[in-house]
């Protein structure tokens, strides 16, 4: 049984068709990619899977259960974590707090614990802090733990965002352009990091990317989206040479 199965998902924004008859199947531990020109509907697909939008029609089955219509926090708690293209971080909050808050559903000491400092609070706080540090270390940003997020360089902020997503203990991690805005060197480091966390934690990853290098390097199979529809699906090599894909990206060649 696959971890995530999306069947015939269609989504309209008013009269605008954003996603049409979308299908996807991801097995445990797989890395899959989603590419396509700007405005093709890639991020919309992420928003649909994570419950931020409710699809107009179609089914989304995650881990054996239909998750359409569940509120986003329940879907997150079931094991889907994600990052954003434009990094939705909480300025004013420290790096450590970002990762700690992502443990929200696992914190169960209440008011009394928080105010009086019961042993349970101390134990849980210590556990969560240790786990948070471990994730930050894995992403190579543990030295910034006590800093306010906005003081970090851009690349480090991206890494914190991934650490925060990992803290929800996802079985499926959705990465929305993890290397956006990075220089080639940082990009290679990020690819290495993604491969490493995948190796250690073993979750499935579904990623949106604009840079072919990244998807080609990481993904077993790739879907290409254009105007909300999948126009090609296959291994990196198949996709690279697919004339339909090339046309979607570069436009039709005019033969004169």
């Amino acid at each position: 049984m696959s971890l995530l199965k999306v069947e015939g998902m269609t989504h309209y924004f008013g009269g605008l068709r954003a996603v049409y008859n979308y299908n996807l199947e991801i097995e445990m531990g797989q890395i899959r990619g989603l590419i396509g020109p700007n405005g093709a509907g890639k991020t919309t697909i992420f928003n649909l899977i994570t419950g931020m939008y409710r699809p107009t029609s179609g089914r989304i089955v995650f881990d054996g259960q239909d998750i359409v219509g569940l509120p986003p926090h329940r879907i997150a708690a079931r094991g889907i974590g994600r990052t954003f293209q434009n990094m939705m971080l909480w300025r004013h909050m420290t790096v450590l707090e970002h990762v700690k808050l992502a443990h929200y559903s696992r914190i169960d000491y209440g008011l009394v614990g928080a105010f009086l400092g019961t042993p349970r609070r101390h134990r849980q706080e210590a556990e969560i802090e240790e786990r948070s540090y471990e994730l930050l270390r894995m992403m190579g940003v543990d030295r910034f733990a006590q800093k306010v997020i906005t003081e970090l360089p851009y690349g480090a902020q991206r890494r914190v965002e991934i650490a925060r997503a990992l803290a929800t203990q996802p079985k499926l991690l959705l990465l929305d352009e993890p290397t956006a805005g990075m220089n080639p060197e940082e990009m290679i480091e990020m690819v290495d990091t993604i491969r490493r966390i995948h190796g250690v934690l073993g979750m499935a990853i579904f990623l949106i990317e604009h840079r072919m290098r990244v998807v080609m390097d990481l993904c077993e199979t790739i879907q290409t989206l254009n105007f909300g529809e999948v126009i090609a699906e296959g291994t990196p090599d198949e996709i690279r040479n697919n004339p339909v894909v090339i046309e979607a990206y570069l436009g039709k060649e005019v033969v004169t």
């Binding site: 994570t50 419950g51 931020m52 509120p71 986003p72 926090h73 997150a76 708690a77 974590g81 994600r82 954003f84 939705m88 971080l89 909480w90 300025r91 004013h92 909050m93 707090e97 700690k100 808050l101 992502a102 929200y104 559903s105 914190i107 008011l111 928080a114 105010f115 925060r164 803290a167 929800t168």
Partner: protein, 307 residues
Amino acid sequence: MAYLLQHVVNALQWGSFYALIALGYSMVYSVLMLFNFAHGDIFMVGAYIGLFVATGLLALGSAGAVALPNWAVLVLTLILAMALTSVVGMLVERVGYRPLRRAPRASAALTGLMIGITFETLNLALLGAKRRSFPALIETTSYQVAGVSITNTKIMIVVISLLLMLALDQFVRRTKWGMAMRAMAVDIFVVPLMGVPINTMAALTFALGSGLAAVAGVFFGQAYPVLEPYMGMLVGWKAFVAAILGGRGSVLGAALAGFLLGFIEIFVAVVFPSTLRDLIAYSVILLILTFRPYGFFGEPYSARLRL
């Protein structure tokens, strides 16, 4: 000197009322990005709930059922008024604002004003157009300190208000709910993806704000024991001014600005005829806002994403 100190004590008391109410405006604004314009009337509802709880408990006592000492009546009144007013606040959020979460902010503002009017007119319809007096729950004793007379009521009001503000500050810093509220203050788009139920958080924010307003209501009843259906309007708007002055969404700012407002009002009346008090006090605030339009701790531009 003693004359001035006397006014400081009064300013602190008024500042406590403003600060407690302003905190409710600010918290709701920071978490949900809306001004709950019914908040002044929630303060009124809190005062009335306190009135009924207190008179009920006192009646029980005089009927010989359970005679509680007056301080216990006061404590119970505070706790029950907070709890019940919190429920009112959560209902306002659930019925009035939640359906409008994605609607233009103007709709939410109008809804708030209408909920406020509904509370005022409901009060009129149910209780009649008369003033009610809040029973004094602690016997007033005056202490003379360096020529200044301080009543125990004033001390209690200021001290408990400050303690509650401190507790709120700790709540926001130390609990997971507080952490979630701070994150929601930046944007409420990603917070649910971290497993945080935002509807629960919205209800909690309203509950906290309304609870503090109820405390202000009960204390107001102790200091100025006459309640009437429109009592929340002027005090509520002034507290709203404090919330703006503190900086939209800033909890610390709201508390400080609440006290500042108390000081400005009282000391303007020291120098000028008291009929000109509000005119001059609010002109001063207008002037401050001219130079600092986003308040003490607000951010110049809030380009926050809304859900």
